[in-house]
Symmetry: C2
Subunit: 106 residues, 2 copies
Amino acid sequence: MNVEQAAKQLEALGSPTRLEVYRTLVRAGHAGMPVGRLQEKLGIPASTLSHHLHRLILTGLVTQERQATTLISRANYEAMNALLGFMADECCADAACETGTTDAAA
Amino acid sequence: MNVEQAAKQLEALGSPTRLEVYRTLVRAGHAGMPVGRLQEKLGIPASTLSHHLHRLILTGLVTQERQATTLISRANYEAMNALLGFMADECCADAACETGTTDAAA
DNA sequence: ATGCTATTTCGATGAACGTCGAACAAGCCG
DNA sequence: CGGCTTGTTCGACGTTCATCGAAATAGCAT
């Protein structure tokens, strides 16, 4: 994972609409969710959703699998983990991160 | 941390230039780094850097402190942790994340 | 083949972004 | 005060984005 790739994924996640889409997909678990259902659930026009989905797919954050007429979208958990890993890695690379969320050790 | 806020921070981190800036700041640790030094290190025009820095500050990802003539910028580790926490939380909310990065259990 | 459902692609529009140089403001030093 | 260093703001440019409805496509059933 390099900076460019990370930035791309971050940017993909950086739109409220897209983050909602991704979040919904993530919560759907490994079963995924058809595009139509996603559309109903989020209440956004199909073309807009398709556009965002495409963007998410381009960055590797989401995958799709065709099942007859319906297209199942799924969050790519490995990609998510890689991104999270990159961020954490960058964060703790040199020093820092001793702030902790609560108190942390000295 | 709500979706809107997370999206804003994600978007802020979603530009290669800004991610580089942030990364550099993070690696600089608690000491932070003056804007000028950042500029030298990254080789981008001062006005561009200032613009991105401002953006990062607006989302709470970076803080600044004046020391005489120089402005010290610092990564806000708490914000980073909160964001990472949000992402991880969303990721593992329902199911999933059993994929692991290597093989994981059955 | 015809029709149906599910989803994408096209085309357009307004807004926001990233980038830069030039001019400006703030604060220190001699 | 005069000048230097540090960093920001302004104005502009072209690019990319998010959004939508309408039209096109893909696959299946009859």
